[in-house]
């Protein structure tokens, strides 16, 4: 309801929207401007990327050698739990919301997001949620340490998770409300605020993928909120949703969690596809290959994400019919995902490619994401998952689909759009250095984890048998290089905001980019208010036959 009230106030504010930003710090707190809020989201995500990354460094340091050197096992478990939560809910998701805030209105010719006040609120709820979650780190009994999946009965056990559970649950509620508000905003913006001349099938793919992602968010974040609420009542109010003694079933939690969890992983990857589909055509100087099949593939991946969840649970003891169904359904996802990879390859084919940093990151994304996808196909086969499940093979798989995929594409997006947003060019040399260091070290970090998993190393263990020592050391070294390399990105972002190379960029920034989407027809740096009158003509990159 508060959203509705806010909306009326906004209408009032909108009438004076040709004034500039408020002065000082207050600007950032009360802002309802989509570009300001986008910036807030992106900077917050960047900060959380380093917080989550620091936790990963603790994990890799402990695993550098066999034996326990630095942390105790419970703290190690807190680190794996918090690393996942911070990276998923604090870094990757907010970063994509930040990109959506900046780009969607500019790409569809809208003056702002549909519900600007709600936009501000969803950002600050995100901050509150993450702070609440982080506060558990300061507790005497430590942060949650039952894994980001919060499986009962472990997460309910007094000797495992101390006082952190209710804090983590309320943090999830806040993050959920924030995401849902953000998603509602994005859907309303895309449906109602497009330039009159832009049809749905004219929208850039980034807008399409975000539209579909927003629906996923609305559908599954409440389910997650429900699941953790059940945990809370099981622990404090004597309900027995997941307690066998009271007629419940701990496996039920896993079903509810993964009903959220599987779409959740696509929430992190679909906008990634969108950005890649935006960047690759620009540097190939060709229209995107198979625009409509890309849209359909995204839609079908999203649809399938709802009916494959139990492939995370093959070893939990499901009936045969269930195991086979979830195996077949999961395998089908390889088809639309394959279509996407083939389309990107075909977009590059016979192009006139140049390899600036955003393109390098995008190419690395296509290659390394495909590798993650192929190992995903391997573990979709239930009998193979009986070996792979909960080993480092899985850890390698999902990090390949998240780090050199989502994170690389977020970096690519930074390099791609920062010049547009700031009007300054980043330092291409440092950008390329950042790329090569990241691309090489990410493979040193995660590739050996395939070997570890196949050789029998379970995940989420703080210490391991001697035969796993060498690859763990290699992986840790890769991790440290990767972690340090990201400081270059931090430097570049700050440097570009403060003037970069000093070279002022053109409106197009990248040669021919204005054929692909609307934001490149605006001046660089983009003014505080854009498209107060909608553009008359929109580029329709998939229909270029007339050119």
């Amino acid at each position: 309801m508060s959203a509705v009230v806010a909306e009326h106030d906004d209408h009032h504010a909108d009438e004076h929207h040709d004034h500039g930003p408020a002065k000082g710090l207050l600007r950032w707190i009360i802002t309802t401007n989509h570009k300001d809020i986008g910036t807030l989201y992106l900077l917050f995500a960047l900060a959380m990327f380093f917080v989550g990354g620091a936790m990963a460094m603790v994990i890799r340091a402990e695993l550098f050698e066999p034996g326990l050197q630095f942390v105790d096992p419970a703290f190690f478990n807190s680190m794996t739990t918090m690393h996942a939560l911070v990276m998923v809910f604090g870094a990757v998701m907010p970063a994509f919301v930040g990109l959506a805030n900046w780009q969607i209105p500019m790409m569809i010719g809208a003056p702002d997001m549909a519900l600007p006040r709600m936009n501000n609120m969803s950002f600050w709820l995100l901050v509150a949620g993450v702070l609440l979650l982080a506060s558990t780190l300061l507790m005497e009994t430590g942060a949650p340490n039952a894994g980001w999946t919060f499986y009962p009965p472990l997460v309910l056990q007094p000797i495992t998770v101390g006082k952190a559970l209710p804090f983590a649950v309320f943090a999830v509620h806040l993050l959920g409300i924030s995401s849902i508000m953000g998603a509602i905003n994005i859907i309303a913006t895309i449906f109602n605020m497009r330039a009159p001349s832009m049809k749905m099938m004219d929208m850039p793919l980034f807008v399409w993928t975000w539209l579909i992602t927003a629906f996923l968010l609305i559908a599954v974040m409440p389910v997650f909120a429900g699941a953790v609420t059940m945990l809370l009542t099981d622990k404090f109010f004597h309900t027995s949703f997941f307690n066998a003694a009271g007629g419940g079933d701990p496996v039920l939690y896993q079903h509810i969690f993964w009903f959220f969890g599987h779409p959740e992983v696509y929430i992190m990857i679909l906008p990634t596809f969108g950005v890649a589909s935006t960047i690759i055509p620009v540097f190939a100087r060709k229209p995107l290959f198979g625009y409509s099949s890309m849209v359909w593939a995204t839609g079908s991946i999203a649809f399938f994400s709802f009916i494959v969840w139990a492939h995370h649970m093959f070893t939990v003891g499901m009936p045969m019919a269930g195991e086979l169904y979830f195996m077949y359904a999961t395998m089908i996802i390889a088809v639309p995902t394959g279509v996407k990879v083939f389309n990107w390859t075909a977009t590059m084919w016979k192009g006139a490619m140049t390899f600036e940093t955003p393109m390098l990151f995008s190419i690395a994304f296509v290659v390394l994401f495909t590798m993650g996808g192929l190992t995903g196909l391997m573990m979709a086969l239930a009998p193979l998952d009986f070996q792979y499940h909960d080993t480092y093979f899985i850890v390698a798989h999902f990090h390949y689909t998240l780090v050199p995929a989502s994170i690389f594409i977020l970096m690519a997006a930074g390099y791609f759009w920062l010049p547009k947003w700031t009007g300054n060019m980043y330092n291409e040399k440092i950008g390329q250095l950042h790329f090569w260091l990241s691309a090489i070290s990410v493979n040193i970090l995660f590739f050996p984890q395939h070997f570890l998993g196949l050789a029998g190393m379970p995940r989420r263990i703080p210490d391991y048998a001697i035969q796993f020592a060498d690859w763990n050391m290699v992986s840790s070294i890769g991790g440290f290089i990767f972690g340090l390399s990201q400081l270059l990105f931090l430097y570049i972002v700050i440097d570009t905001i403060r003037g970069g190379t000093g070279e002022k960029v053109t409106a197009e920034v990248w040669e021919g980019s204005s054929n692909h989407s609307l934001e490149w027809t605006l001046p660089s740096p983009v003014p505080y208010h854009t498209w107060t009158t909608p553009p008359a003509v929109v580029p329709t990159e998939h229909v270029l036959d007339s050119h």
Binding site: A114, L115, I180, I184, N192, V220, A225, A245, P319
Partner: protein, 184 residues
Amino acid sequence: MSEEDVSKKNTKLARILLLVAVGMFGFGYALVPIYDVLCEWKWIERDRPDDIKKAPEVAYKVDMSREITIEFMTTLNESTPMEFRSEKKQLKVHPGEYHTVNYYAENKTDKVMIARAIASFSPAVISSFFEKIQCFCFDEQTFKPREAKTMPMRFVINPELPEQYKTITLSYTFFDNTEKSVKK
């Protein structure tokens, strides 16, 4: 389209989507009964404690042509200071035959204990063919301080049990529910 119209459209859409989100929160809870229903489907079958109902004693035609080995498995959940075992570990029966197996349980503390035995079958489909006429698992069991009980479990295997099942396991896990029961 005027700005006001867009604003109205936005509000309307936001309301609908908010309702969808609230509905999905409800759907999360609805998954609990949905799961129960799915678990009762023959081809899915996962035994749930709530399903365990007392069956009436029916005279089945005993199927002498096959013999089924039943294994009895007992487990104590973590802080349950009890002794708990079945009188027999294994029993060979013909479908349709009535049998009684005694379970022995002892409260090893000087306090009243309320415990609940949770049954589980392997393979899970068995639960719809394993009919209990008398069982300590129907209710919570109250043990006086140091009380030892011999608790009979009378059952029959429905002769409709598919041919392929030759060995089945019935597991009971005792959970100490004293704290919960007292607070209720």
